[in-house]
Amino acid sequence: MSEKTVEKSDLVTVTIDGVQVSVPKDTLVIRAAEQVGVQIPRFCDHPLLAPVGACRQCLVDVPDAGNGRGFPKPQASCTLPVAEGMVVSTQVTSPVADKAQQGVMELLLINHPLDCPVCDKGGECPLQNQAMSNGRGESRFSDDRNRGVKRTFPKPINLSPTVLLDRERCIVCQRCTRFADEIAGDPFIALVERGAQQQIGIAEDAPFLSYFSGNVIQICPVGALTSEQYRFRSRPFDLVSTPGIAEHDACGSAIRVDHRRGAVMRRQAGDDPDVNEEWISDKDRFAFAYAQGDDRLTYPLVRDEDGSLRAASWPEAFVVAARGLAAARAVGGVGVLTGGRLTAEDAYAYAKFARVALGTNDIDFRARPHSAEEAAFLASSVALTGPDNGGVTYADLESAATVVLVGLEPEDEAAAIFLRLRKSVRAGGTEVLSIAPFTTRGLTKLSARLVPTAPGDEAAALRTLAGELDASSVLLVGERLAVVPGALSAAAEVAASTGARLAWVPRRAGDRGAVEAGCLPTLLPGGRPVADAGARVDVSAAWGVDHLPEAEGRDGDAIVTALVAGELGGLVIAGVDPDDTADPVATRAALDAAGFLVAFDLRRTEVTDRADVVFPVAPTTDKAGTFVNWEGRVRSWEAALHNPASLPELRALSGIAEELARLGEGSPLGFRTVGEVRAEMAQLGPWDGERRPDRERSEPGLSGTEARPSEARDDALSAEGARRLSTWKQLLDNGSMQDGDKYLKATARTPVALVTRADYDRFGPTVTLTGDRGSMTLPAEICDDLVDGVVWVPADSVGDGVLADLASPGAGVTITGAEGVHG
């Protein structure tokens, strides 16, 4: 520990504008000046980008460089590290520095169009602001005497469907190109031309398609880069900004929701140094229209006598739902499928609702392929871990010598992890290994070492790799491993035996919070095992109920099976898309079979169409909430918009529970607001007793189904042209939360099937894949290092997605050439 720590604590004392300040060694003067309250104007400087010294706006006078001698010329404070005894005079005290800055500002403006009144950036523009604070009132260049001629360019050009460039406004500070190159690893924008004609450009027919492109708009210090989505829609001073947490993945990225008159106008990256630093993915930035569409549910619906859904008041809906659920309880019980999008508070409400109002442990948030092995893993290795008790953090990714990815493609599935890993790799600190079937573009950008592994073989690969791991290693396992028998167990085992640290990275924002809140058949809130009598007592005492259901419940798959078999009488379902589930056909059959169906959703869906009672769900902008990210880090936000039609689900659940209690079923939940839930959760706290015993970890079948694909696999793989199916969701795909933004959609990667060179030569440029659920035809692309016998397709970029249209991940599919079919 130490060498690094000791070094960091080495302080250097400098004098800036007469004020002494001690800062860590290697601190740049521009940031040391901030410590004494002096803001040196700057454009190219950005704390997360390598210094470049291009704009020269931050010139300061250095009468003593620390060696008794001064610099003869003003120095760029953004590239000058402090030295012991250095004396710096900024614009505040030095006429030389002030003139140098004014001179640079004047030069920056000579070719700038000064079109602030029609510029999106006007009002939040560093150029505008600093021209006011550190520039002259008038330009000599364009005065009557000089009548200077400005450089002009044709007005905005598209760098990509989402990002526009106005070259006249650009001051070529290179923040955008440096971001693209250094941070995102997508150098598809570059400086082109030279001298005064120098500009930002793309290659012909090669737009700036980066998952992180929107960040360049935000860090552009002028109005050169604008958002196609936001352009001309608002002025910064008309916007109200509310901090939020991105809902599209489990990263917990800070965002800022900018809204006006009840509508979100845009989203920006928030600054959370522990999490996303200052970057977000384009999905986090641009995908918010889904919550503002015409199909948004704004009032409850109940199934009328004529079979149609009709509007209902909240109290009526509570009553109807309660009656139906009570009846369903009587004919076998009610299952609860919560999906992975819930806030932690809502998840807690469902967990309590299931136990207290429905008297069941039949609850599962995993509306995607899962397994009992996974539930055991979550209970033993995930629940209750967090930054405060040794859980893996983003910072740990940076300090780890080795990070092993298993069943996880960070660029697609956890963007902030991708960026943090890239940062660390570039700094030379971390080697990334990936147990995966091929080197993805994302892995290339991480200079990752591929451990070539066909889907299904991850457990063996992990064990083989164990020799390379030690306490300086981190294992990141993705939720996709749930369906690889033995893989999660192997990960836990390898971590335990090598000292490597382990973290689980789910895809959805609410997944981790749902684990903590008890939306599992085996866990009560706070990581308390259902099977542990002490834990049950703990919870029932806190909840003021006599007892809680004792047996572990059914998992998601088992709930589906039980509904189809008529063993369950009803279902409460929240934001679940059947096509995301392990067996979409079975899930639909379960919805049809459910005697009584209560659906919670944001928008009208096929599930709400089947429901007996529908409750509208408030989007994250409309309610306070909390996401627990993959680290176990808690990130809360307050409502940005105040929409009377939007109630948090916990309020609806509490309404239903009250009605159920009136009918003699269960007890009320005892809360109606997010604040009350937070207080209750805090009071309950985490489980401090024994965790789920290890011996149960890999025993299948206690409470649900075993991972299935392995069975199908062996049959299918014996056939001619059989391949193992590798698949995951790309960052941008057909996911319903990306609906409504055509610009964003246009930046998604073209869906292709990745095949080996041999398969390409054999089957041609268009292939048809056939699995046990159907066929999919799409263009083939050669993937040079794809493991033999494997084919990869994006999980939700074609049709209804792989689970609905093709087969389960890891299952066998056959590949054939699609002659005459043009994908």
């Binding site: 150098p187 570059a190 400086l191 082109v192 030279r194 450009g201 290659a203 012909e204 027919d205 090669a206």
Partner: protein, 236 residues
């Protein structure tokens, strides 16, 4: 100008250039010269080809191709004529030469003159910056070979001879090859003309001739080498 696709041979040569360097990207400048030799200009296809070989983005190659003035995104003539109009050459007559050629060829800067009936070759014109031949001012370059001490008339004679397809030699260099052939030399593929032309032009020898006339030379070296070495002389 029609552009033929990049051949397999050119692709192999592009890879060969990249392989000359410890890091392949170092080959980019000569590779772009080769693209010009093969295709007559910097084409999107050429940019893609370089990007693919060097495993960098097309935007990065574009950034390089647009930075250096020798790379042309639109075609030039078989003979690309550059007239130095930097201060010294301009003053010595470069401005007049450039004006005269523009008028004569009926084109502006960086344009290709019309190929007239009977012209066997085309000519393009550009004003260029100092080409390090100031003692031969005013200087014109044809396909980056020196045409020293020009006048407006001599410049017109040169371009006419070139258009007619006559053999023209550099005033202190070889017989002129075409622009595309010259670009190939810049890519590192010699063309066998190295031994044409003199050792030095007249102005280069001005000082040496005076020294010879007056019997001046550098001081005699000390009789024994500064450090005696087991040397067998220099005859190798």
């Amino acid at each position: 100008m029609s552009t033929e696709p990049i051949s397999a041979k050119t692709l192999a040569e592009l890879r060969e250039i990249a392989a000359r360097y410890p890091e392949p990207r170092s080959g980019l400048l000569p590779m772009l010269h080769l693209v010009q030799s093969a295709q007559g200009r910097i084409t999107p296809e050429g940019i893609e080809a370089c990007a693919a070989i060097l495993e960098i983005s097309a935007a990065e190659v574009s950034g390089v191709a647009t930075f250096y003035t020798m790379y042309k995104r639109h075609g030039v003539g078989d003979y690309h004529v550059g007239v130095c109009t930097n201060t010294l050459c301009a003053v010595m007559g470069g401005d007049a030469i450039f004006e005269r050629l523009k008028e004569h060829l009926e084109i502006g800067n960086d344009e290709v003159a019309v190929q007239r009936q009977g012209d066997s070759r085309t000519v393009s014109l550009e004003h260029i910056e100092c080409n390090a031949a100031c003692d031969f001012a005013p200087v014109m370059m044809v396909n980056w070979e020196f045409m020293d001490n020009q006048t407006p008339d001599s410049a017109v004679q040169v371009v006419e001879a070139l258009r007619a397809g006559h053999e023209v030699s550099s005033t202190r260099g070889p017989r002129l090859c075409t622009w595309r052939e010259a670009e190939r030399v810049l890519a590192g593929f010699p063309d066998g003309r190295v031994d044409e032309g003199p050792s030095a032009g007249p102005a280069s020898l001005a000082g040496l001739e005076i020294a010879r006339e007056r019997g001046w030379s550098a001081p005699e070296p000390p009789s024994a080498p500064a450090v005696s070495a087991a040397t067998d002389g220099g005859e190798r």
